[in-house]
Subunit: 210 residues, 3 copies
Amino acid sequence: MDTFILIINLVGTVAFAVSGALTGLRKNMDVFGVCILGLTTAVGGGVIRDVILGLTPPATFRDPTCAALALVTSAIIFLPQIRRLLMHNPDRYNLLMLWMDSLGLGAFSVVGVQIAYQHVTSPTLFLLVFVGVVTGVGGGVLRDLMACDMPYIFVRHVYATASLAGALTCALLWYPAGSVAAMLAGIALVVVIRCLSAHFRWNLPRAKEL
Amino acid sequence: MDTFILIINLVGTVAFAVSGALTGLRKNMDVFGVCILGLTTAVGGGVIRDVILGLTPPATFRDPTCAALALVTSAIIFLPQIRRLLMHNPDRYNLLMLWMDSLGLGAFSVVGVQIAYQHVTSPTLFLLVFVGVVTGVGGGVLRDLMACDMPYIFVRHVYATASLAGALTCALLWYPAGSVAAMLAGIALVVVIRCLSAHFRWNLPRAKEL
Amino acid sequence: MDTFILIINLVGTVAFAVSGALTGLRKNMDVFGVCILGLTTAVGGGVIRDVILGLTPPATFRDPTCAALALVTSAIIFLPQIRRLLMHNPDRYNLLMLWMDSLGLGAFSVVGVQIAYQHVTSPTLFLLVFVGVVTGVGGGVLRDLMACDMPYIFVRHVYATASLAGALTCALLWYPAGSVAAMLAGIALVVVIRCLSAHFRWNLPRAKEL
C-alpha cells in the first residue's frame, strides 16, 4: 500500500514537472526558470494540501525525493534534443501537455483524498473531495499564475470537473473497492474525461454568447 | 450571536461570489469558470485567515454551506436572463460589482476580527485589524490574480483603507458597544467609504504626476 | 544574537519594502498601492515561511514592527523628491532595485534558515535550505504576481540560485563558523552573485535558441 501511494506520487510529480517545464519552454525561459516552474508545479499542490490540513512542515520539505525528481525531469525536458522535438511540432507539444497535465491532475486528486483519509478524523465526503480537488488543481494553478497565463482551471472547462469526478469516485470506492482500486479508478476517470473533452472539443456556453 | 455571525458570513459569501462571477462574465468564461471564480472569491479570504491562525482544516473544508451557496450564487449570475441584464449595461454591471465587492469586503473584514477575538488568546489590536484586513481583501486579491487583472487593492485606492477602517472600528467597538453593533458599524463604514469614494471619484497623486 | 537577528530582519524588511514600492512606482500606482505592495513584499516571505513551519499566527501578525517599518519605507519612496530622483533616471532606478532586491533576498534567505534551525527538531540540510529559499524568494514572487509581472525568479536566472547558494552556505557554516558569521556569509554571497550576474550580463540558453 505505501509503495503504491509512493508510485502514484512519483507519477504525479513527473507528470506535473513535465507540464511546468513545457510551460516554461513556451514562455522562452532559461534552464533555471524551466526547472523552478517544473518544481513549483510538481510540489505546489501538495504544499497547499499539507498547509490546509495543518501537516507542517509539508511532506515536500521533509523528504527531498519529489523535489529532486521534479528538478531532474524539468532539466531533461530542457535538453536540446527534447526541446527541438517538442517546440518544432505544436501538435506533439499540445498532446504531451494534455497527457501530462491530466495524469498529474488525476494522481494528485486521489493522493489528496488519501492524505485526507489518513490524517483527518472522521472526514466528511465533502472534505475528502474538496481536499482532493485543491491538491489536484493547486500545482497547475500556481504554474499558470507564475507563467502569467489565465489558469487552465478557468479556460479548460472540464478541468476542475474532471478533478472533482476523480476525487469523488476515489472517496466513494475507498471502502467498497479498496484504496488501490479506488485510486486507480479516480486517476483513470480524470484522464478519460479530459482526453474525451479535448478530442471532441466539448464546448459550453460563454458569457458573450447570449 | 452565533446566528448573527452566520448571517454575516452568508451575506459576505453571496456578495463575493457575485463579484467573482461578474469578473468571470467579463472575462468571457464558461459556466464552470464563472462558478469556480465565484467560489474562490467567496471562500478564499476565509481559507487564508484560517491557515494564518492555524485553524486547520479551514472552516470552509469542514462545512459545505458556504461553498454550496457560492456555487449556486455564481450559477444564478450565469443564467442567460441575468447575464443579458448585466452585460448589456455597463453602468448596471459596475454598480452591482461595486456594491457586492464592498459588501463582501466589509462582511469578511469584521468576520476576520471576530474569528481572531474568538481563537487568539489576548490578541493585540494590531493582530485583530491585520487578520480582519487579510480576511477582507484575500478573496478579492485571489479573484483578480486568477482573472489576470491587476488586483483592486492596488488600483482602487480606498480598498485596503476601507477594510482597515472597518476592521479597526469593529475591533475598538467590540467591548464598549457589543460585538453585534461593532460588526454592523464596521461593515457600514466599509460600504460607505467605498461608495463615497466611487461617487466622488476621489483621486490621489500617482507616481507619474510629479 | 537576538539583536543581530532583529537587525537582519529589519534590513531585509526595508530592502524588500523599497523593491516593492519601486515596482509600485513603475506601475504608476497611487500612494496606497505603493505602500501595500511594499508591505506585501516585505512581510510576504515571512508569512509563507511561518505558515509552512506551522508557526501560527505568523510573527508579522504578532509584532507590528516590521509591518510599520515597511509602510514608512514605502511612503518615503513615494515622496515627490525621491520619486523624481528615481523615475527620471532609469539607471538609478534599476541599480537601486537590484541592490534592494538582492539585499532582501539575502537577508530573508538566511533568516529562513535561522527560523528553521530554531523551530524544527533535527532539521535536514534539505529542509533548512528549502525553507531559506522559500522565505527569500516568497516576498519577491508575491510582489511580481500582484504587479502582474512575470516573477523575477523566472526571468533573472540567478535569482533562486543565488538564494540557494546563500541558504546552503549559511546552513553549512552554522555550527563550524557560528550563526552570525554564517548569516553574514550567506547574505554576502547572495548579493555578490546577483551583482556579478547583472554586471556581466550572464546569459543562459533559452528555449528558442536551439
